[in-house]
Symmetry: C2
Subunit: 216 residues, 2 copies
């Protein structure tokens, strides 16, 4: 209906992302994620509500059908941009998030289609997340966080939920990339770290980090 601005796209994208973790998304988490003041977010939430893009659930907010649909379009462009950056321009997976976050607002539907085709219809972004198809359909798979594996379990890394370049660099330096095979050697009790084995080497991983790594 309405013309969505890049900023609205950016808010919807963030809400979508935060929803994966914590359902009704709060003002403060959004403000934190977008690096804006709470009042700015509060104000924008009212606008999004007025446009029918979010519903107010208690104190928080969640995407409506339409908000979700727009968010998925933005995410499609984001993930295709990331792939363009890694596959064609030679970026590392730790360097693409911020660039893609700007690019995604400068990509026309035509360009979106061409990127997809030129890349050979990739299924996921460099972090293992599925790229929504042009109708917004996402292949969802039931994945477990690495942090829930028991000792001696083996699995394949599917995705890494992380935007921080330093963390991504660290993980790839350990070989913990999508498709890598990982096995859990030990699980320390009381929320302690996991001892995991990746391509022959053993590492200790905090639960926090491990929970962001999804495996199959």
């Amino acid at each position: 209906m309405e013309a969505d601005t890049p900023r609205i796209e950016e808010y919807l994208e963030s809400i979508y992302k935060l929803q994966q973790v914590q359902h009704p998304v709060t003002t403060s988490r959004l403000a934190e994620h977008l690096k804006l003041s709470p009042p700015s977010v509060s104000e924008m939430m009212k606008k999004l509500y007025g446009k029918g893009l979010v519903n107010q659930i208690g104190k928080g907010v969640c995407l409506t059908e339409e908000g979700n649909s727009i968010a998925k379009k933005v995410i499609r462009r984001h993930r295709l941009s990331e792939r363009l950056l890694t596959d064609i321009l030679g970026y590392g997976w730790d360097e693409v998030h911020d660039e893609a976050c700007k690019l995604e607002h400068a990509i026309s539907p035509e360009m979106e289609a061409r990127i997809e085709e030129s890349l050979g219809n990739p299924e996921t972004c460099p972090h293992g997340y599925p790229i929504p198809d042009k109708d917004g359909v996402i292949k969802k798979e039931n994945l477990r966080p690495l942090s829930e594996l028991k000792a001696s379990e083996k699995a394949t890394i599917v995705s890494v939920f992380e935007e921080d370049p330093k963390m991504l660099q660290y993980l790839s330096s350990l070989g913990m990339l999508p498709r890598a095979t990982i096995s859990v050697e030990e699980v320390a009790p009381f929320g302690g770290p996991l001892i995991v084995c990746v391509s022959g080497s053993r590492y200790a991983l905090g639960r926090e980090v491990a929970s962001k790594i999804k495996v199959r």
Copy 2:
């Protein structure tokens, strides 16, 4: 010094482009090119003057040293974007201008360098214009407009100064692309059309169009 917004970049880019044709650039031509109202342009010119990016020459305006330098950076990103679109994503030269005009504001210095490298350090955009190097240096060549050739002269097309997709489509359908060899068969008097020969076929070309085609 100051943070230049995408809009300022866009104005400087337009001024640069219009300067090639008509030296002190007037409010109305700028408004026309940018598709904005004259008051908007008038206001922005005051701001650019305040920032030391343009000088006021009589009724019009022209870029200062600094304004020129910024414009060239924008144009570098624009032309690199165009090449990315044609060489990697398979766009036609008639489809890239508007896309590049958005992309150019979403490209970091890092990405700029990577595009250049991935494309094999291209010298020109798809329309034959030189891509400024990272220090803003442009290889300038002394070119003649096709409209000034005399009958029976032969030349090579270097660049086509045109943004209109329809016109570009038309020209490429005649094979009038950069690097094509063209010969002038006849020049009608009193500003009439030229009869030219490109790859074996003869066409009549208006002076207006011919003046936008630069040859060597």
